[in-house]
């Protein structure tokens, strides 16, 4: 947590309501996101119990598993979810250009309540993506495809991407509350801080919101009280009715379970759309569109890979894929940080506090200064910026300004602005480019005296992805080339499903190929 966020949290406590820590929204919010609220059965890592899902706030679709420990029902749930998710994603695929070379005009967006929801999505994807579409298992073909899409989406869930958002994560990135980061993962409590009911402080509202009877947990874990008092009885009634082959009783019991689960899920459904409305109310940052384009490209690449019969994602990355993914994520993270700082003065303020940026007033400017040391005179204007920020950049450092991102400014000198006033620094900068062709700078290309100017070591420059060896050329230091992936019936079984505990934890053929991300 940065100093400014800590300060905002203290202010939130004082004011009794969450404080904005961003001036603009740094995530893309789709016009038609798919809201997905999964619930799981306690005690099992990934046994779906129910889900409320849909892209229309007035028409949520409820999926319920009436005996969550029964695997056949689990995959029947997956088939139901595949119908909804598949239909939603399919609506974006339909808009493709006929030649199949351009990225799709728009991409889907999945919004889940919290980080645990993403983890559940990932596990659900893992348990379904290897399901054989033919053979002894009788899943419809849509189940393994759903698994691949859920896996793709869950793996794309990182700060630089908006294909998957968590409501708590997106809100907490833009507002600081007076509670801890752990408490912020409770969607109801977080929203209570951001938008408390009239006449109530955020802290009081959050306290009420933590009452599971009023606001049931946003999942995937359910409230233990609900499990004990309600769920156990309903599931037992269904089981008993089935054992007695009493179809009327079974229908009644299933109806009662569905009604209870709907009651548990609907409050969160309301909160999810409230969160989406809140996010939409913040103006979008300038570089969000750039990052959404990258998301669209990634989505288009994966959709085409799937259409061409691509393999399911491997359980474990092979050596080259792992290294490539790490470097790609680091590049995206770095670009995200720079873009956010350029788009948002509150983010830049954090860099100003650590000395990686400074802002001040241009006290003097020589816009037509020439560098005549070479054969040909070059236009190299100097500007003098006086700042109260701490300046850590030394002479020779190359800086950029959010006002003119392409223009390089090299630090010539850093000195105290005056003898009398401590804490004011005068920075001399030489502008290198971006002023047009002649020896007179193009209008507006050079900061003028009395302008407010901000300079930083962060750059938006594109770093090309480094070269990696191909999988076949994996060197001896990393175990040599991995074996080629061949799909088999055993792919869908997990190591802990069978009795082969002593065997290697992961069969080597499960190491597939990382595909376009």
């Amino acid at each position: 947590m940065t100093v400014l966020t800590s300060l905002a949290r203290i202010e939130a406590v004082g004011e009794g309501r969450a404080q904005p820590i961003r001036t603009v929204r740094h995530v893309h919010v789709s016009d038609r996101p798919l809201v997905f609220i999964p619930l799981g059965l306690a005690g099992e890592p990934c046994a779906p119990l129910a889900a409320l899902v849909g892209d229309d706030r007035s028409a949520p679709r409820l999926l319920v598993v009436t005996s969550p420990l029964n695997r056949d029902e689990r995959f029947a749930f997956a088939a139901g979810l595949a119908g909804i998710v598949g239909g939603y994603i399919g609506s974006y695929l339909a808009a493709a250009d006929p030649a199949g070379t351009q990225p799709y005009p728009d991409a889907p967006q999945l919004i889940v309540p919290n980080a645990a929801g993403v983890a559940f999505t990932r596990l659900l994807g893992r348990s379904t993506r290897f399901r054989p579409a033919s053979g002894e298992a009788t899943d419809p073909a849509s189940v393994p495809v759903l698994g691949r899409w859920l896996t793709y989406l869950a793996e794309r869930c990182h700060p630089a991407s908006s294909l998957v958002l968590t409501a708590t994560g997106a809100l907490a990135a833009h507002w600081a509350t007076g509670q801890s980061a752990v408490e912020d993962e409770n969607l109801a409590a977080l929203l209570a801080w951001i938008a408390p009911p009239p006449g109530m402080s955020g802290a009081d509202a959050a306290l009420l919101a933590e009452d599971p009877a009023r606001w049931p947990p946003a999942g995937p874990a359910t409230d233990p009280g609900f499990d004990r008092e309600v769920l156990l009885g309903r599931l037992t009634a269904i089981r008993d009715a089935r054992l007695a082959a009493d179809t009327a009783a079974e229908r009644r019991a299933v109806g009662a379970l569905e009604a209870d689960l709907r009651d548990v899920l609907l409050p969160t459904w309301t909160l999810m759309w409230q969160a989406i409305d809140l996010l939409r109310s913040v103006p979008e940052a300038a570089h969000v569109a750039d990052r959404w384009t990258a998301d669209r490209l990634s989505f288009s690449g994966y959709a085409r890979y799937l259409a061409d019969g691509g393999f399911p994602q491997p359980r474990k990355d092979a050596a080259v894929d792992a290294a490539r993914r790490l470097v790609r994520l680091e590049g995206e993270q770095q670009r995200l940080e720079a873009q956010m700082a350029y788009d948002d003065p509150l983010v830049m303020a954090e860099y100003r506090m650590t000395g990686e940026a400074f802002e001040g007033i241009v006290t003097r400017c020589e816009p037509t200064r020439l560098d005549e040391s070479g054969k040909k005179a070059k236009l190299r204007p100097w500007i003098w910026v006086e700042t109260t920020d701490e300046v850590t950049a030394g002479p020779g450092t190359e800086l950029r300004s959010p006002a003119r991102p392409g223009q390089k400014a090299v630090v010539i000198g850093v000195e105290p602005a005056s003898e009398q006033q401590e804490g004011r620094t005068l920075v001399t900068l030489e502008l290198q480019n971006g002023m047009g062709r002649g020896l007179i700078p193009a209008p507006g290309s050079v900061p003028q005296a009395d302008d407010i100017a901000c300079y930083t070591t962060l750059t938006l420059d594109f770093q090309p992805a480094p070269d990696f060896p191909s999988r076949e050329d994996t060197p001896w230091t990393h175990g040599g080339p991995p074996p080629q992936y061949v799909a088999t019936e055993q792919d869908a079984t997990e190591p802990w499903d069978g009795a082969d505990w002593a065997d290697d934890a992961y069969p080597s053929q499960v190491l597939g190929t990382e595909v376009a991300q």
Binding site: D317, A319, A322, L326, V327, G355, G479
Partner: protein, 442 residues
């Protein structure tokens, strides 16, 4: 141990390493404790390989390390006017002054210009852009424990065999992004190059350099016990070989002078400030670090060692801390005191460097909690093993109690080797040693 005996032990170890290289199908790993003559070994091995007519690529991690190695190699090979050392660098790199006058050193931007060089040195990042037809017979990978394995993956295709040299006790490589998905994989890209290479090649022998030429006897035993519990090493010198003296007497009786005297007399000092929970840039602790350095300069320290007697100039003093904002605050304070030449930096950047006296702002000083970052053994080890004469630790009272309140509780993961030494344990070990060198300030 006398210096002659130490030299004998070191030379025996070198012979063993060279013999292991002769018979190794893939290479050798050499663990080097702080100041154990890693660069000397690299030069020696390069000379040996060149003598057998092999071309050698040298891979280091930073440009500064490459410059140091290239300079040392050029000097060592200067006796043969035929031999050339290449220094491969990116387009924006300017050869530093100290390397310009070596007749046998050639700097170039592409590998093609260095065809005539028997030894070519560059950073791992630059090597990763090189495409070469035939692989090199041997590579020497320096600071291999700080190299991330994804970088090794990009350069490993260039060579057949490699000598990996590094200090396993220093900081591990890290990533700025979530990397849990690779936990337990033998090729986890965030692990060090050596860890990944050994996981796939358990036949590669691991050798160790036995003596530290840098650390004084007072420090070697402490650092060895705290950070290298399973691969102990000794100091090459004895207490009689090293000494730190003042040209001036203390003026009055201050805690600063008492701390300096303790450091000069015993090689260690703990300058202990009153207990308290402070922000990271604790003003009093920062001021104490700078004041100690300034006073050290003012009193005219003179260091005696096997290399002779020399004054301890400002650039032979370093102040190390865990965070960049602390470094900025210390530098500002040093500038205010007129001691800009004293080096202040984070442990990451002090790695691999050597000074006469170091002053450490303890990573846990004034903290309420002990996080994994602040407990990391490598971070503390770097700070405690840069000095030839004395190390002064500046800390607020109460670190052992803080440690007791925060036993390490990091989750364990399947297939992830347990990291030794444990940071918590290393901190406790160092603090118990320092208790005997405590000076209470304020």
């Amino acid at each position: 141990m006398s210096i002659a005996q130490a030299a004998q032990r070191a030379s025996r170890a070198t012979q063993e390493i060279l013999a292991a290289m002769d018979s190794a199908p893939r290479g050798v790993v050499v663990d080097s404790p702080p100041g154990a003559g890693k660069s000397t070994l690299v030069v020696r091995v390069a000379r040996e390989l060149v003598g057998k007519g092999r071309r050698v690529m040298v891979i280091a991690q930073t440009n500064e390390q490459v410059d140091d190695l290239a300079g040392a190699l050029a000097r060592a090979l200067a006796h043969d006017s035929e031999l050339r050392v290449g220094r491969l660098a990116a387009g924006t790199y300017a050869t530093p002054e100290r390397l310009r006058d070596h007749p046998s050193l050639i700097a170039a931007k592409t590998i093609g210009e260095l065809d005539g060089c028997q030894v070519v040195a560059s950073t791992a990042a630059k090597w990763a852009t090189v495409r070469s037809e035939a692989p090199w017979a041997w590579a020497i990978v320096d600071e291999a424990y700080q190299m991330r394995s994804d970088l090794l993956l990009r350069v490993a295709g260039l060579f057949d065999k490699a000598l990996f040299v590094g200090d396993p006790g220093q900081l591990d490589p890290f990533s700025t992004v979530e990397s849990d998905r690779w936990l337990g994989l033998s090729w986890d890209p965030t692990r060090s190059a050596v860890a990944v290479m050994l996981a796939h090649n358990d036949h590669v022998p691991v050798k160790q350099l036995p003596v530290s030429w840098r650390l004084p006897a007072s420090a070697a035993s402490v650092v060895s016990a705290a950070f290298y519990p399973f691969s102990p090493f000794d100091a090459a010198t004895t207490d009689a070989d090293r000494g730190l003296e003042w040209q001036t007497a203390p003026f009055g009786k201050t805690a600063i002078d008492a701390t300096l005297d303790m450091a000069a007399g015993t090689g260690w000092a703990l300058h202990e400030l009153p207990a308290g929970h402070k922000p990271r840039t604790d003003r009093e602790a920062v001021a104490a670090c700078a004041a100690l350095a300034a006073r050290l300069c003012a009193r005219g320290a003179v260091a005696t060692s096997e290399r002779g007697t020399t004054p301890v100039t400002a650039d032979r003093i370093a102040i190390g801390s865990a965070h960049r904002d602390q470094v900025a605050a210390i530098r500002a304070e040093l500038a205010r005191l007129g001691c800009q030449d004293v080096i202040a930096d984070t442990s990451n950047r002090l790695q691999g460097r050597e000074f006469d006296v170091t002053i450490m702002l303890h990573p846990l000083s004034g903290r309420r909690d002990a996080t994994a970052f602040h407990l990391e053994a490598g971070r503390l080890c770097v700070l405690a093993s840069r000095h030839r004469h004395a190390c002064i630790v500046v800390a607020r009272k109460g670190i052992p109690e803080l440690l007791d309140a925060h036993p390490s509780a990091e989750p364990m993961h399947l297939n992830v080797p347990v990291k030794f030494p444990d940071g918590w344990e290393a901190h406790q070990s160092l603090m118990s040693q320092l208790a005997r060198h405590r000076i209470q300030a304020g």
